[in-house]
């Protein structure tokens, strides 16, 4: 079975305790969307300030104009710096799209890093619409634009808080595999973690699939499991491919002592 795992860029960090973890680097498209949201946020705040300064224009149109010009500049330049500092690497756009700026070494993000990555934005924007920054980010192993390189920062995706459907693992029906504990043990031994994970995902999402795709997918997974461990022919005859995979997953994920 070919497991098409992610080809996304990842930031790998090893802790002094020896644990290695990978953080998924944000893609260009998601970052562009976050940037668009931030642009809309800046426009909204500027509009509000424009309305407020319009009241001041009654007293002094010149002062109101000067104040608006400066306020707009401060907001457009300072927005990213303020929000990323206040929310530890997240602007509004990044919050909505579950992105975060982090130090490339995994350490705490410093204010100087935030300032540099935001103030070097003009060079990333060249010649327009983030072309240079996008190109550098695309070519970079860590998806860093020029500002990120100078600041040693990386924009990562924040994973969703998981909600594992443990009910799906419950053995509501009789599991014929339990009749063969030595084969169950062999199955646990031979099935790779990624394969077990993929099969579990297939079970959890089976109701979302088209009927033909569902049958075909479970046939392929069941065939793969059958190639790893050969149960008695009777087991194969009595159950469908889907039930076969369910039984296999229940055997893999649940230890005997807990089940009993």
């Amino acid at each position: 079975m070919i497991l098409n795992l992610s080809t996304r860029k990842a930031l790998q960090i090893q802790t002094p305790e020896g644990v290695i973890f990978n953080l998924t680097v944000a893609g260009l498209y998601t970052r562009f969307l976050a940037w668009a949201v931030d642009g809309a946020a800046i426009a909204t705040v500027s509009t509000v300030i424009g309305m407020l300064t319009a009241f001041l224009a009654v007293l002094s149109p010149d002062f109101a104009k000067g104040l608006f010009v400066i306020s707009y500049f401060v907001i457009s330049v300072g927005y990213g710096i303020f929000t990323e500092w206040r929310w530890r690497g997240q602007s509004w756009g990044k919050r909505i799209l579950r992105l975060r700026v982090i130090d490339a070494s995994g350490l705490k993000l410093q204010l100087s890093q935030i300032i540099i990555r935001n103030l070097l934005r003009p060079v990333d924007l060249l010649p327009g619409l983030y072309f240079l920054g996008g190109l550098v980010s695309y070519l970079s192993m860590r998806g860093q634009r020029l500002g990120d390189l100078a600041a040693n920062t990386v924009v990562i995706r924040i994973p969703e808080t998981f909600a594992l459907n443990t009910q799906a693992l419950k053995e509501s029906k009789y599991n014929s595999f339990r009749e063969y504990p030595h084969l169950e043990a062999r199955l646990r031994q031979r099935v790779k973690p990624t394969e077990a994970s993929l099969a579990l995902d297939a079970i959890l999402r089976r109701d979302e699939m088209e009927p033909e795709a569902r049958v075909e997918l479970f046939r392929r997974i069941a065939d793969h499991f059958r190639s790893l461990v050969k149960f008695d022919e009777k087991v194969n005859e009595m159950i469908t491919d889907e039930q076969y995979v369910r039984n296999a997953i229940a055997s893999i994920y649940r230890q005997k002592n807990v089940r009993d």
Binding site: T15, V19, F21, K65, L119, L120, G147, S197, Q255
Partner: protein, 336 residues
């Protein structure tokens, strides 16, 4: 052996949730200081979650849990393993009187390069205009510099500063923001290994040189100096400081400090860059105010000698500040 995922989650999830709550609290307030008990608890939860991550990455698992734990450990790792000294409380006076000038002097060679390129550009601009006066439109593509200088001087003197009546604050705002944008671009161009910074500084010099020669040839030197010096004595050095910052950045990219790798070199100059940025932004705010409210008034309202004297004094003060401020205090602190 394959982990009993269900039992594992039920058993460990309270620790993960507690760690998440604690991290959120820290992340929501950048200035939060944990007490000793909270630090101990954070460390315990981090160790436990790291151990969970290790277990789950060794045995079969759901990718969602793996990603979640990796993200959680990454957040806690950043908090716990940070060893860089926290930046001291920002005190404006100390920053302005010590840090800015000290940082400027620390990278003085980059400033000389900046100055040299501007002067080279000025010589080029003046030379081109001298050789070919018809090149004026190309060298100075700005409407207010297109005409004959003596005509503009006569117009300005007749106008008596009324041109900007009721528009000075808006004009000052425009000047400040525009000059800061140009300076930030000059700095950011350092990321092109300094090539972009060279171009921006040289081009600024070309304009400066061409304008100067144009006015001098038309015998309007007093007006030129009286017009440019009050704000230019701060504005032009500020753009050069931005160029200096750009070259510091380029120097880190190129690798003038050979013992360090690229990321260490960039990290070593990061705080200096921020200090220089703060310095030139502040100077440009002042230059914008002076240009809008002072430079645009000419004789007979303000005598040229007063404007020239003001500009010259400002220039002396600026370079005294950059050259000497913080010097004595620094030597005292090094003795201590």
């Amino acid at each position: 052996m394959i982990l009993d995922l269900q039992q594992f989650i039920v058993q460990e999830r309270p620790s993960w949730d507690e760690l998440e709550v604690l991290l959120k609290k820290i992340e929501d307030d950048p200035n939060l200081r944990l007490n000793l008990d909270q630090v101990r608890r954070l460390h315990y939860l981090y160790d436990r979650t790291t151990s969970d991550l290790f277990r789950i990455s060794t045995f079969a698992s759901s990718p969602e849990i793996l990603n979640y734990l990796e993200s959680l450990v990454a957040r806690a790792y950043g908090e716990i393993h940070e060893t860089r000294a926290p930046r001291r409380r920002f005190l404006f006076l100390r920053w302005f009187t010590r840090e800015v000038p000290q940082t400027f002097r620390r990278h003085i060679r980059a400033f000389w390069l900046s100055l040299g390129l501007t002067l080279l550009g000025a010589a080029f601009g003046a030379g081109m205009l001298y050789i070919n006066p018809d090149a004026k439109e190309t060298l100075l593509p700005f409407s207010h510099l297109a005409g004959k200088p003596s005509e503009r001087v006569a117009e300005e003197q007749e106008n008596m500063g009324k041109r900007l009546e009721g528009r000075k604050a808006g004009f000052a705002g425009f000047l400040m923001t525009h000059n800061i944008q140009v300076s930030l671009m000059t700095l950011a161009m350092g990321m092109t290994y300094g090539m972009g910074t060279v171009v921006v500084l040289f081009y600024n010099g070309v304009i400066l040189g061409a304008v100067s020669l144009d006015y001098i040839q038309d015998h309007q030197t007093r007006f030129l100096v009286g017009w440019l010096l009050p704000h230019g004595s701060v504005e032009i050095p500020s753009v050069m400081i931005a160029g200096q910052a750009g070259f510091v950045l380029a120097g880190a990219l190129i690798g003038s400090r050979k013992r360090l790798n690229l990321f260490e070199r960039l990290a070593a100059i990061r705080n200096d860059l921020v200090t220089l940025i703060g310095g030139f932004c502040l100077l440009l705010v002042w230059a914008g105010i002076v240009e809008a409210f002072f430079s645009q008034y000419h004789e007979p309202i303000i005598p040229y000698n007063v404007k020239i004297g003001f500009g010259a004094l400002q220039l002396v003060l600026l370079f005294s500040y950059l050259g000497f401020s913080g010097r004595k205090i620094k030597s005292e602190s090094s003795r201590a």
